[in-house]
């Protein structure tokens, strides 16, 4: 009985993978990957702008969240107790549970209203906010595993405290931190809700960070809502690319970090 129910609950995963693959893979060809979307009524067209847009958004998000996240992670691992550390941990947990649509509203209030238009930059900030609560705990937990003796050895040799942290402790925990960053990218690469009113979507190729930009999940959402069967076909293709990207990143991180596993 228990085994049966367990088996049933992994069926949806098979269904999703099966249908996305069977409907999506036939759509994908060179044109699909390298051309821009066509206007309504014209058959064909590609998703090149959405692919570029996804990577741009991830780039902006990473540039913002990795330095802040790693510094905050070091702070937490260096301060195991104390009021500020407690409050910061509480904030990270709260941020982790914050619905993605609320993050979208925040980026809208902060960057879209003040700048006056939807932009790739605001979308990147929204995604960056969602990466923080993955990167910070990953950094903190990794650095906590590094034995105190390593730090003491470095300090005893006269290496200054900042250099001990940056040149000894941080490289020693690099694998865990990189894994955290990769997982956080996998988490936000498929996010749509925070982009609805920040990056907004666009049918054109755009490389300007202050202009609206398209991304794969946004494109899937807009095409799925549309009444045109041709766009639905494109959405299956885009879904296949997205799911390969996200699940691939997840698997990659898992396999690679198992090999890098820190052992002291």
């Amino acid at each position: 009985m228990i085994a049966l129910l367990t088996f049933c609950s992994i069926l949806p995963m098979f269904f999703i993978l099966f249908f996305i693959t069977s409907k999506g893979i036939s759509v994908i060809n060179w044109r699909f990957l390298t051309h821009l979307p066509k206007p309504v009524g014209e058959i064909g067209g590609g998703i090149s702008n959405a692919i570029i847009g996804t990577f741009m958004l991830i780039g902006i998000a990473t540039a913002f969240s990795v330095p802040v996240g790693i510094l905050a992670g070091i702070f937490l691992s260096e301060h195991r107790k104390g009021t500020l550390a407690f409050l910061v941990r509480l904030c990270v947990e709260t941020l982790q549970g914050t619905p993605s649509i609320v993050i979208g509203i925040i980026a809208y209030i902060w960057l879209v209203v003040s700048v006056g238009s939807f932009s790739a930059f605001s979308g990147g900030l929204a995604l960056g906010l969602m990466m923080l609560p993955v990167i910070i705990p990953a950094t903190e937990e990794t650095l906590k595993l590094i034995p105190e003796s390593l730090k003491e050895a470095s300090l005893a040799l006269g290496v200054s405290y900042p250099r001990t942290i940056l040149r000894v402790i941080l490289p020693a925990g690099a694998s865990g931190i990189v894994a955290g960053v990769l997982l956080s990218i996998a988490r936000v690469a498929g996010e749509t809700a925070p982009l609805l009113f920040t990056a907004f979507g666009s049918p054109f190729m755009n490389l300007n960070v202050l202009k609206p930009i398209n991304s794969l999940p946004l494109m899937i959402f807009n095409y799925a809502k549309s009444p045109y069967p041709d766009w639905h076909t494109l959405a299956w293709g885009a879904s296949f690319i997205l799911i390969v990207l996200v699940l691939g990143l997840n698997l990659f991180t898992k396999v690679v970090t198992r090999r890098w596993k820190v052992q002291f």
């Binding site: 609950s9 609320v102 749509t192 959402f221």
Partner: protein, 312 residues
């Protein structure tokens, strides 16, 4: 990573120190930078909360607490009440929870008690983890094109209006999405049940099922509840999948098959079309409500888990 790698790191740092006698960064200023990063996170969260409050202030001032209990949502006449969306959110989330517990509890027991190791367990575990990794827009897309037709057939045979989309479809999609969250925590707390308790029960002649029902489940109860709370937090805030399959109706749903809207889906649908500051403020206030509710539920779940000594 092994000892020699660690030694190399330390020695390299030592060599650098010898080469440049004066450190580039003094200890106190480095500690200050770290503290600033911490304070930044704190301020970030305060800023999020207060930005939401300030941006929704016109709506808060205009409608007060009535906002949550008024059932008209009429942008044309500038009348905004969140009650239909509160009902829609609660209905989809609780229905989804009930459906998902039927599956996540057996998974927890299976992985935590029956076969904690082995190929089958590893396979199921990684499948469930992948389930958590699938983007929500893909759940919504599959729900709309694969699940909705099935539900429509069901509705025709039940004799209710065959929308295909609605609370029931949204709950089904949501229940699949939240299985990984409650299952992973459930597995951990169940594997923490001391084996002498189980062995004692077995030695007194209890069957395996009795051990699960009388020993394991009571012992792991609060952890399982915490897992359910955390998945409830997920379900309440889930946006894209729900938006695509709930049918988007701004009225109080009459049955579990009728189309509705949740707090998150109404924001996703109407935010970019909101004209007028009161309309926008009303939508942002919905976001504020969502933020507060999910935060309280999440912190409660995390607190229970920490008290049990499990790494969530």
């Amino acid at each position: 990573m092994n000892h020699s790698r660690a030694e190399v790191l330390v020695l390299e740092a030592k060599t650098e120190t010898m080469r440049w006698r004066k450190p580039a960064l003094s200890e106190s200023s480095f500690r200050k930078i770290l503290s600033i990063a911490g304070v930044f996170i704190l301020l970030l969260l305060l800023a999020i909360f207060f930005s939401l409050v300030i941006a929704s202030f016109p709506a808060i001032r205009n409608f007060g607490i009535r906002f949550l209990f008024t059932s008209t949502w009429d942008p044309v006449r500038s009348e905004f009440g969140a009650f239909p969306f509160v009902v829609g959110t609660l209905a989809t989330s609780f229905l989804a929870l009930v459906i998902s517990v039927v599956f996540s509890l057996p998974i927890s027991i299976f992985l935590g008690e029956y076969s904690a190791q082995g190929t089958a367990a590893t396979f199921i575990k990684s499948m469930i983890e992948l389930l958590a990794g699938v983007p929500s827009v893909i759940y919504g897309f599959c729900g709309l094109f694969l699940l909705a037709p099935v539900v429509r057939t069901l509705e025709v045979s039940l004799g209710v209006a065959p929308y295909g989309v609605g609370i029931f479809t949204a709950s089904l999609v949501l229940s699949i999405m939240i299985i990984p969250y409650s299952a992973s925590i459930g597995r951990e707390v169940i594997s923490l049940v001391p084996s002498d308790l189980k062995e004692a029960a077995l030695s007194l002649g209890a069957t395996r099922f009795e051990v699960i029902r009388k020993v394991i489940l009571p012992y792991a109860r609060s952890g399982i509840v915490a897992g359910i709370l955390l998945s409830l937090g997920r379900a309440l805030g889930e946006t894209m999948a729900v938006t695509m399959v709930i049918g988007n109706s701004n009225f109080i749903p009459k049955s579990i098959f009728s189309p509705a809207n949740t707090l998150a889906s109404i924001i996703a649908n109407e935010f970019t079309e909101a004209t007028g500051s009161l309309y926008l403020a009303g939508l942002i206030e919905l976001g504020l409500v969502l933020f507060i509710v999910t935060t309280v539920i999440n912190l409660m779940g995390k607190w229970i888990i920490r008290r049990m000594g499990v790494e969530g």
